[in-house]
């Protein structure tokens, strides 16, 4: 999998310049998080990956093919996109129908659909909810119904827009599981998020945008080690990283256990 972004610029019809020349390349299946304050161009950027938006200038290439070569519906077989609000996607009267809808649209054989269905339902925690009305689901379950309905299309890349928004612990945990599962199956996951705890825990690579340009792009540990730079895009490192930096450690810790281990090591060295 290779997504190449070449000097991408996008100006909305209102004259608003949302992207002012963004270039970077995503290779392989390591999950990537795109962060930055509202208006930094995150959503505009990822909407180019399946041609919901077309570049004003520059290009996005998926495995060498320019995205403008075919329609969004055609791209949906390869690039899945989960919108922030599940209500924008769901309208059928059962989870099962929602799951079958996408793959049917792009001509996946019925036998394949039925084969995928139980596994994805299980991953999304909706195994016993397949025949429930989507309206009777909780906010968390609805979100996973939307995620599952995109996973059912078995795309090579899945884009998540603010997946943890409004989620509880259980939801965030399940999301991490899904991201791990996708990577194992050789699928690339690109996520927009404000939730730095979630980003630090799941995404080895972080791209921070600011006013339509790339502010920092790199390994998440290096990115979160620069709180001063991140402030420009109103992003602050996750709480535990801030604690470790505040304690004087050079590298930000990403989990409580990790920080405690580092502390133990420090104590041993001092003893």
């Amino acid at each position: 999998m290779r997504i190449e972004i070449r000097d991408l610029r996008h100006t909305y019809p209102t004259g608003e310049e949302a992207l002012k020349g963004v270039s970077f390349t995503i290779e392989g299946v390591t999950p990537v998080a795109v962060v930055g304050q509202n208006g930094s161009g995150k959503t505009t950027l990822v909407k180019h990956f399946n041609r919901i938006l077309s570049p004003t200038s520059g290009a996005v290439l998926i495995d060498g093919v320019e995205t403008t070569k075919q329609s969004t519906a055609k791209w949906s077989k390869r690039v899945g996109y989960v919108f922030q609000n599940p209500d924008d996607q769901l309208f059928l009267n059962s989870v099962r129908k929602e799951f079958e809808f996408g793959p049917e649209r792009v001509g996946v054989p019925a036998a394949d659909i039925q084969k995928r269905l139980p596994e994805i339902a299980e991953l999304c925690g909706l195994g016993d909810k397949l025949d429930s009305h989507t309206f009777d689901l909780t906010a968390t379950q609805k979100k996973f119904c939307a995620i599952g309905s995109v996973m059912m299309m078995d795309p090579d890349v899945i884009i998540f827009d603010e997946p943890t928004c409004g989620q509880d612990v259980e939801g965030s945990r399940r999301l991490s599981e899904i991201i791990g599962h996708l990577e194992k199956r050789g699928k690339l996951c690109v996520t927009i998020s404000h939730d730095m705890k979630f980003v630090a825990a799941n995404f080895p690579r972080v791209v921070a945008l600011c006013h339509g340009r790339v502010l920092i792009d790199g390994d998440s540990r290096e990115v979160f080690a620069k709180p001063e730079l991140l402030k420009k895009s109103f992003v602050s490192p996750p709480p535990i990283s801030r604690v470790s930096l505040g304690m004087g450690f050079e590298k930000p810790a990403f989990s409580v256990d990790e920080l405690v281990e580092t502390m133990k090591a420090r104590r041993r060295k001092m003893a």
Binding site: T140, D168, V169, F234, I240, G246, V256, D257, V260
Partner: protein, 284 residues
């Protein structure tokens, strides 16, 4: 905590019409004047239903079977109109776009909308709009169309149009969930300041670090039940993790240090506390 009780919930149960599950199961608690109470719990725990019950929308707006009762400033919410209660207790909820009236063309008219409905004289309205605009920091936006504002701005206007009825209690149901961190901070700052000025705040929130930092007390809910109501230090000592309740990272850090024998104090609630405790632990 104050001795003065402003909300009293007594054996409250509720089931929505057409549903089998109880949304609220036998809840009892009180809220003191000037208190900052946070309600936490997993999605579907009944947090929103509780908020709706506090402001009287349950049972007047939602039909269903209710038992027990809520009294706000000594008045039973059942039998009192929601509009009447609005001068005692105000509600702000998640989606900012559902909280504007869609009948006004400027922020000042939007703020005054509730007053228009109860027939307040125009001078009174102007005075209160000016006062509220300052509180919620929308002074520069008064002439703008509410539909052109950012999410954080609309949410502040929503708080303002609730406050203009002069309630002494504010209920906020995940009012920052759909906002970006900056907008969320803007809104939260105002809530914090209102609380300092004496307004009682009941807030549903998913951001545990914030809950730990700001709440006087925390109410934990799951499956329609009240599991506990206590100070953040008592709540975040790890007991409720199994109930789908997240722990703030700092408290988790404190617990992990205790496990490793590096810390023996109470639950850690803020970044400062965590850093200090951590530094102390490695300075040994």
């Amino acid at each position: 905590m104050s001795v003065d009780t402003v909300i009293e919930v007594k054996n409250l149960s509720f089931r929505y019409a057409g549903e089998r599950k109880q949304a609220l199961k036998d809840l009892s608690f009180t809220v003191g004047r000037g208190e900052f109470l946070c309600i936490i719990g997993p999605n579907g725990a009944g947090k929103s239903s509780l908020c709706n019950a506090l402001v009287g929308l349950i049972p007047s707006y939602f039909s269903g079977a209710k038992k027990g009762g809520v009294s706000v400033l000594g008045q039973d919410t059942e039998g009192t109109s929601v509009a009447n209660l609005a001068s005692k207790i105000g509600l702000v909820f998640q989606n900012p776009f559902n909280q504007i009236s869609y009948t006004t063309s400027t922020v000042e008219e939007e703020l005054a909308y509730g007053l228009c409905n109860i027939g307040a004289p125009r001078d009174e309205m102007r005075r209160r709009v000016k006062e509220i605009a300052e509180t919620i920091r929308v002074g520069g936006l008064l002439r703008k169309n509410p539909l052109e504002l950012s999410g954080g701005q609309i949410q502040r206007v929503a708080i303002g149009s609730t406050l203009i009825m002069r309630p002494s209690i504010l209920v906020l149901d995940e009012c920052t969930t759909q906002l970006d961190p900056l907008g969320s901070e803007e809104v939260f700052d105002i809530v914090k300041r209102l609380n300092k000025d004496g307004i009682t705040v009941v807030m549903v929130d998913h951001d545990m670090e914030r809950v730990a930092r700001c709440a006087d007390r925390v109410l934990v809910m799951n499956d329609g039940q009240l599991l506990a109501i206590d100070t953040p230090r008592a709540i975040f000592n790890g007991i409720f993790q199994s109930h789908g309740v997240d722990m703030p990272e700092y408290a988790r850090f404190g617990a992990a240090m205790s496990g490793a024998g590096m810390y023996g104090g109470p639950a850690l609630l803020t970044e400062r506390e965590a850093i200090n405790a951590g530094k102390a632990a490695i300075a040994v």
